[in-house]
């Protein structure tokens, strides 16, 4: 298709409230309520249930025509009351939708009013905490919804403690704050690393249990797990914050730095060798400790594997797409192992994305020239794929149409992954994650090129028949 200016065909982003739910669901005993019409919560519940294969309860203020005309005050209050009644949460995250924003409801004011009426105090130890976030669907994307929500959460808990707490009570902990939703397996891996190295840390938000819950004897109304409220409260006292993700701004981290002087460092999401190296380096320098032998060995195994597969991967052209920071880290890893990410794309609009991607190419493989796109939809991704003809796609399930038409493999990472099982268990971070990803990518290529498993090919296996990179660059130009 030629360039479009007015329509989006097959979107590569989700809306802000979705990001908000992904963040809130990583907090202990939290319910999410969308202030808007009934459909928003149902659609997003469906989307998340498809991906995580878990029950996902999200409330709605179920605005009707009356609410839209006269304001959603009563509906929101009723919704809050019913959620409290039925779920007894410790926190309710209220995310707005486009409807609530457009009719102009003052959500913080309604919540204040509600708390007065219901005599809910401000004691974080015993009182319910309601956190409003403004996340209209017509603004930015799920990524911004996620980041805004984490900031709102950190701010709420920090400010709850009032001004009298000007003196910090150092806790010696390290805050870990992500800018994009990682898989439950990824969160578990990072937590494990921290447990081995630091012992005391605060990871926000922790979806490792809430979105990947073990079967248990009872049926809890709210999935157990999530970052503890006492920990979130304690974040301003921490030694430092380590942000995961460098393309998008980490608002929660900046807030803690600006208002509570918690030094903030951001590293790329630790996918691949150098990104994981960076992550460990930052960690040990903040905590002033050595890297445990366990991870040296894991790193060694990754190096060993990279050597083992380097010939399969050299020059293999890949198209990678998804959320900006995940794409950045995946791209780094592909460059390290000799692949050629011909097409690097994200659905979010981001000026920094292109700059950061080009920078990493310059550092690792300056001779390559990728096509870098932001704000794409899958239709434009398809056009770009036609131009770049990659051998493999790396991204979420929505690329499956493109992969199928072009008969190339798709290695699934990111969100949503609804057409295969195990989305919640996909591990990409740390040395172990890099190993798993390396195996998956290599095996996908072998599956496509191995003459035993793939149809007999007229041309030789992909990596040997590759046009030289110079030619390829010419082609793209």
């Amino acid at each position: 298709m030629t360039k479009r200016s007015y329509t989006t065909v097959n979107p590569c982003i989700m809306c802000q409230p979705m990001g908000s739910a992904l963040a809130f669901k990583g907090i202990e005993s939290t319910m999410v309520l969308y202030h808007g019409s009934q459909g928003c919560s149902t659609y997003m519940r469906l989307h998340l249930a498809h991906h995580f294969r878990e029950p996902v309860d999200i409330a709605s203020s179920s605005l009707s025509e009356k609410g839209a005309v006269y304001g959603g005050r009563e509906n929101l209050k009723k919704g809050l009351r019913n959620v409290i009644n039925r779920y007894q949460p410790k926190v309710i995250g209220v995310a707005t939708t486009c409807l609530a924003e457009t009719i102009g409801d003052d959500v913080p004011a309604i919540i204040r009013e509600f708390k007065e009426e219901e005599e809910i105090g401000d004691d974080p130890k015993k009182d319910l905490i309601i956190i409003p976030v403004s996340t209209p669907s017509y603004g930015e994307s799920h990524v911004s919804g996620y980041i805004k929500t984490l900031e709102a959460v950190v701010r709420k808990f920090a400010e709850k403690q009032g001004k009298d707490r000007a003196i910090k009570i150092p806790n010696g902990k390290i805050n870990l704050i992500t800018v994009e939703s990682l898989s439950p397996a990824d969160v578990r891996e990072i937590k494990e690393i921290l447990e081995v190295i630091a012992e005391i840390y605060i990871f926000l938000p922790d979806i490792s249990e809430t979105f990947d819950a073990p079967l248990r004897d009872d049926f809890p109304k709210i999935a157990p797990g999530g970052t503890l409220l006492t920990e979130i409260e304690d974040m301003p006292n921490s030694l430092a914050s380590l942000g995961l993700g460098i393309v998008s701004k980490n608002l929660a981290l900046e807030f803690l730095e600006g208002n509570y002087s918690v030094p903030g460092h951001s590293v790329p999401i630790p996918i691949g060798l150098s990104n994981t190296d960076n992550f460990f380096t930052e960690l040990v320098s903040i905590l002033n400790c050595p890297i445990p032998e366990k991870y040296q060995k894991e790193r060694g195994r990754l190096l060993d594997a990279m050597v083992d597969v380097h010939k399969y991967l050299y020059g293999v052209k890949a198209a990678v797409y998804g959320d900006p920071d995940m794409v950045f880290s995946l791209t780094t890893f592909m460059l390290e192992i000799g692949m050629y990410p011909v097409l690097v794309a994200t659905g979010s609009k981001s000026r920094d994305f292109g700059m950061k991607i080009r920078q990493i190419f310059k550092e690792i493989r300056p001779e390559l020239e990728p096509v870098v796109l932001d704000g794409i939809d899958f239709d434009s991704l398809n056009d770009a794929v036609s131009d770049c003809s990659p051998d493999i796609l790396i991204g979420n399930s929505n690329g499956r149409y493109i992969a199928k038409v072009r008969d190339i493999p798709l290695v699934r990472v990111g969100l949503p992954i609804h057409d295969r099982v195990g989305a919640q268990r996909i591990l990409t971070v740390g040395y172990r994650g890099a190993l798993e990803l390396l195996d998956r990518i290599t095996n996908a290529i072998l599956e496509a090129t191995d003459t035993f498993t793939s149809p007999v090919q007229a041309k030789p296996a992909t990596y040997t028949s590759k046009v030289t990179e110079e030619e390829c660059i010419e082609g793209i130009k």
């Binding site: 065909v9 809050l80 239709d379």
Partner: protein, 525 residues
């Protein structure tokens, strides 16, 4: 199973739920009883309804139109979450599987989205040359007041294709209102039959007896269902003009007015259109279902009866005989494996819920919970006729109610959609997807075999035995071979976990009684 859910104690009602939700849940107590059930209201704020919105209702009904561009005028979310999530199959183009959106941004909300919409339509016509564009309005469009009707009208004249507004602002009612909005859009696509004009122009009317022609309303060709139904009618010598909207095109829809009869399957969404076609084109209609042997038989016989020809009747009987004989061995085999098990039904529309009651009784299973998102008063009356005593009927249920009901009613299997699936799984209840995203055909004779096999596969999977002990207790394992043996047979654990107390009289439900009830229920409408 009581131990599984600890804090769900029965208070006043059938389940522990919000005061305002109590009127929506009832238990059938005695034979022939009609249960008054609150229904057809907006969902309660904060109650976590399983319903979606007006837009969703409209989209579900219209999405299977294969050659249409379904353009969502609104912010990106509405289009994103509905992108190809329905398993409606196409025999031709698949334009409907792409997601088109005007992706409204803040500026569009402030200054209005009419220009963007109009430009978007121009752009899409230029790129895809579609035969039709359906423009869905979303919440925000209703609030900022974009006149999408005017935009569509102008675009329609400009491009000489139908550009139809679907008035589906999310907050303006519930899913049922979306069905109506979809039918209103369909009305504009159905053109006057040519025969009215032809009669004037051509005095010579062919003596050849025309093949009787029907439309199937409310079959969305999920997983290819319609492809198992159409051949049955063709074998009877009846032409199916179009199925609304499964595997339909603008062209086939436009010819719907030429039919002699409308068969309505999804009554919740399509009765409104059927009534309109009756008034407008004099096409009578009746309600049918193509699920389960009993209901397919009724559908074919009623249709043959309507056309009255002995030839058609004979053909129908012949089909029923051969097909039933063909699948019966497999159905009987599965029946032996699942009979006596208890089923829970939670469906979007009431028609599917009703037909499932019969389907389960054909498999020897009992329905213990039945609920819908969009049932109306008459639907629940009919449902209460058709179910046994003790069955709980629920409207617009939420996850906690469903979970508690599954436990209390001791359901072995739940039939519903994705959101309900994981509730059932967490409770250790088998599950069968009967929603738009299933990939297996369930209609027709072979479809019923598929259904039976899926029910069997889930109920009789060994995983339920494996998950009984959710915490490993070495002490229970150490008593040696006895314990292992007990685990394999499953009996000791089965007793601890689930108590099967099927009332013997309930086991021998006469299928015909339920069928009669349904027919009489319909006639009384």
């Amino acid at each position: 199973m009581q131990r599984v859910v600890k804090d769900m104690t029965e208070k006043t009602g059938i389940v522990d739920t919000l005061e305002e939700r109590q009127p929506y849940i009832a238990r059938k107590q005695e034979k022939g009883q009609i249960i008054p059930l609150a229904c057809d209201n907006n969902s309660l704020a904060g109650a976590i309804s399983q319903r979606a919105c007006v837009y969703s209702g409209a989209r579900v009904v219209l999405n299977p139109i294969t050659d249409a561009i379904h353009l969502v005028h609104g912010p990106i979310g509405c289009a994103g979450y509905t992108w190809d999530i329905r398993g409606a199959k196409s025999s031709g183009v698949e334009t409907n599987r792409s997601s088109f959106s005007t992706d409204m941004k803040e500026l569009d909300v402030i200054f209005g989205g009419e220009n963007k919409l109009s430009n978007a339509i121009d752009e899409l016509v230029g790129l895809y040359t579609p035969p039709i564009i359906l423009v869905y309005s979303t919440c925000i469009v209703g609030v900022i007041g974009d006149d999408i009707e005017a935009v569509c009208k102008i675009a329609s004249m400009k491009h000489n294709i139908p550009v139809i507004p679907v008035k589906s602002e999310g907050f303006k009612g519930n899913k049922s209102d979306g069905y109506k909005a979809a039918c209103d859009a369909l009305k504009q696509l159905i053109t006057r039959p040519p025969k009215e004009n032809a009669a004037e122009n051509k005095p010579e009317i062919s003596n050849e007896i025309m093949k009787p022609r029907i439309n199937i309303l409310g079959d969305f060709n999920v997983a290819g269902d319609v492809w198992l139904i159409k051949p049955l009618f063709e074998q009877m010598g009846i032409e199916v003009i179009v199925s609304l909207t499964g595997d339909s095109t603008v062209k086939s829809i436009s010819r719907a007015s030429e039919a002699d009869l409308n068969l309505v399957q999804c009554s919740g969404s399509m009765t409104y259109l059927a009534k309109w076609m009756q008034k407008e084109y004099g096409i009578p209609y009746f309600t049918v279902s193509f699920f389960g042997i009993e209901d397919i038989s009724i559908a074919l016989r009623k249709t043959a009866e309507y056309f009255g020809s002995e030839d058609i009747k004979e053909k129908a009987e012949k089909i029923l005989k051969t097909e039933t004989n063909r699948i019966m061995p497999e159905i009987s085999r599965v029946r032996e494996r699942v009979k006596g098990k208890k089923a829970a039904i939670y469906m979007g529309g009431p028609a599917k819920a009703l037909t499932l009651i019969k389907g389960f009784s054909e498999l020897g299973m009992d329905v213990v919970i039945i609920g819908t998102q969009t049932g109306q008063k008459e639907d629940y009356e009919q449902i209460s006729y058709s179910v046994r005593n003790g069955t709980v009927i629920v409207d617009d249920a939420n996850p906690l109610e469903l979970a508690e009901l599954l436990v209390k009613q001791k359901a072995d299997l739940m039939v519903a959609g994705v959101k309900e699936r994981f509730i059932a799984y967490k409770l250790g209840v088998a599950f069968c997807d009967f929603n738009h995203d299933r990939v297996v055909k369930f209609e027709g004779f072979d479809g019923f075999v598929n259904f039976a096999r899926e029910v069997d596969a889930s109920i009789n999977s060994p995983v339920w035995k494996s998950i009984r002990q959710r915490v490993l207790k070495p002490e229970t394992m150490s008593s040696g071979k006895e314990a292992v043996k007990g685990k394999i047979s499953g009996e000791p654990h089965a007793k601890e976990y689930k108590i099967m107390d099927v009332e013997p009289e309930l086991l021998s439900l006469n299928i015909d009684v339920a069928a009669e009830n349904q027919i009489s229920g319909e006639a009384s409408r």
